[in-house]
Symmetry: C2
Subunit: 348 residues, 2 copies
């Protein structure tokens, strides 16, 4: 049978292992025509789960291994001892061209280190970034880096801008996506030198997006730009702060509805609408950290994801494959690097 | 008449000028016994507003000046041309001991630069931080720096920990406040070198708080610690991201209640509870960025504050004065600097 795409899945990753991962694969399978899954991990544990999904079974291959990488392990140690692990075998399937994408809910640091080591970066990309889609007042934006690189120079930030802009264009269908650099103010003189240099490059080069300027923290959810570019330290803290505030709002709302009989009745009446509102910011909908810039599609699912979240991460991977994201980036980066204004600032 | 405290107010700061500032002063005056206000700015504009508040009038002095610092001005330019401005005159009142605190809703950068220049830092403090109180799942925490210093070494971060811990102890009444360093993970090897060095100092010195360890972005609202310490770049972005997510949640909730007749009825019934919930995260309640580490009490009110927000910023300043915050810090810092474990890491 001819498949449109083959997705390798690390079935042992995440807090719950195969039971949740395979349920997620089954859910994604029902939405993705012509997809084959290669499942890496314990044959018995995967088999038991797979038996529950008759439709999926003929399109899923189990690749047995006893070995799995723990989520507690230090990335460098994990990589050193990774031979034959479910995560590594799944990445190798992409490396050898047997699969189009890899999805794992395992150790993030190990997954990033191993992807870089085995798949390498796309030509012209110095360092891959973790990117994710975020809900905003006006729709959705993509933000990167969310934690792969603690510090980033102007060259790396410019490459992130290209990665984000290509993503917004080819996956989200925005013809000329706006790109903002996250900073502590919007004036030209604000922030670190790397940010000011990146701003100078992005103002002067041709790239798939349109440089908007510096943006501040509250611009992320305002939807001021389509692509938010930042270093991995700042991005990680902004993302987790946002998650924390989301939970705080939810908790305060729950407490409010429980605070009086009137409020409880009010809740019963507005329950449907409140549920829809919660759905809009449901973390499962935004699950799937994309490792953009890696030469191969690699998506990290949240360790605590349920089946729906896992399915979403698989859909994210499929979107990158189906839209030829990596090929488009390679072409754009080549164009970027030829430009005088890029060369003069980053000095490559 | 004998006053408990005298507060100098830059009446020309903020987006709305004296009309809002004086209304805020009047509101704070009604809550603060024995307080005198020195109001700096245009005598006529202040006078007109002051006429509206009979009780306040005998306890408020107008100090006329035509000059005000624009909120658009670059801090360095603003400082250079600051002589005789309402902001500078108000700071000078604190410098000369004629006032106990200064509150301004004007240009943040100019206020910080001028405070440092005129008031200097507390003995043993290298750089002041902007600190603010944040709502959490379990109560409130204090976070610093929110934007005064883009990069901070271990010594400065340690001083921030002391400033935050003294604040939590003397103003919030927490005997042994916990202090966390904001980072991208909780493991020892995570983050920048400065963070790891600061962690090493804080684990080994005696200071007014208890060092908890590294915390992540979502710990801010979880209330994991009483004091969140970070550099000004990260803190500024985390704070504004949190504000943005708060607004997004509010907007989604409003849309949800408007989405059907049932939901609207539900809103009518739960309105009181929802209002209480919104009050809990009302930015006006958290208005007042404290310039901790400056040798003089200086509080920045948000430029867009209304009278209630302005009054809150004045209350924040009064709390610092009444609890002898600066005197307590000076004593603690001296103790800290004498400790071997501090000296060995930061190398002072």
């Amino acid at each position: 049978m001819n498949y449109r795409q083959i997705i390798a899945v690390d079935a042992m990753g995440g807090d719950f292992g195969p039971s949740i991962v395979i349920a997620g694969v089954a859910e994604a399978f029902s939405k993705l025509e012509g997809t084959k899954f290669m499942l890496y991990g314990d044959r018995d544990k995967i088999g038991v789960e797979l038996d529950k999904y008759e439709a999926l079974k003929p399109h899923a291959e189990i690749h047995h291994t006893d070995k799995a990488i723990s989520s507690e392990e230090k990335p460098s140690t994990a990589v050193r001892n990774s031979k034959g692990s479910s995560m590594r075998l799944a990445i190798e399937a992409v490396k050898d061209g047997r699969a189009d994408a890899i999805v794992s809910a395992g150790n993030t640091g190990a997954l990033m280190a191993m992807s870089k080591l085995l798949l390498r970066c796309l030509p012209g990309i110095n360092r891959p970034a973790i990117a994710s889609v975020m809900p905003t007042m006006t729709g959705k934006s993509v933000m990167l880096d969310l934690g792969a690189n603690l510090t980033c120079d102007a060259e790396v930030l410019t490459q992130f801008a290209v990665l984000g802009a290509v993503y917004a264009r080819v996956v989200q269908g925005i013809t000329k996506p706006t790109v903002g650099l996250l900073n502590v103010g919007t004036e030209d003189m604000k922030g670190h030198e790397e940010l000011r240099n990146a701003a100078s490059v992005l103002s002067n080069v041709e790239f798939p997006g349109k440089y908007y300027g510096f943006i501040e923290g509250d611009d992320i959810t305002k939807g001021t730009v389509d692509v938010v570019v930042t270093d991995g330290f700042t991005g990680n803290i902004a993302l987790k702060t946002a998650e924390g505030v989301g939970k705080l709002s939810k908790e305060y709302l729950t407490q409010a509805f429980k605070s009086s009989p009137f409020a409880m009745l009010g809740y019963l009446l507005s329950r449907g609408a409140i549920k829809k509102m919660k759905d809009r910011v449901d973390p499962r909908k935004y699950n799937g950290g994309m490792f953009l810039g890696v030469n191969g599609v690699c998506v990290k699912s949240h360790g605590g994801s349920d089946a729906e979240g896992t399915a979403n991460a698989i859909m994210v991977a499929s979107n990158l494959v189906q839209n030829g994201f990596n090929q488009r980036v390679a072409a754009q980066i080549e164009q970027l690097m030829d430009q005088e204004s890029f060369i003069s600032v980053v000095g490559v």
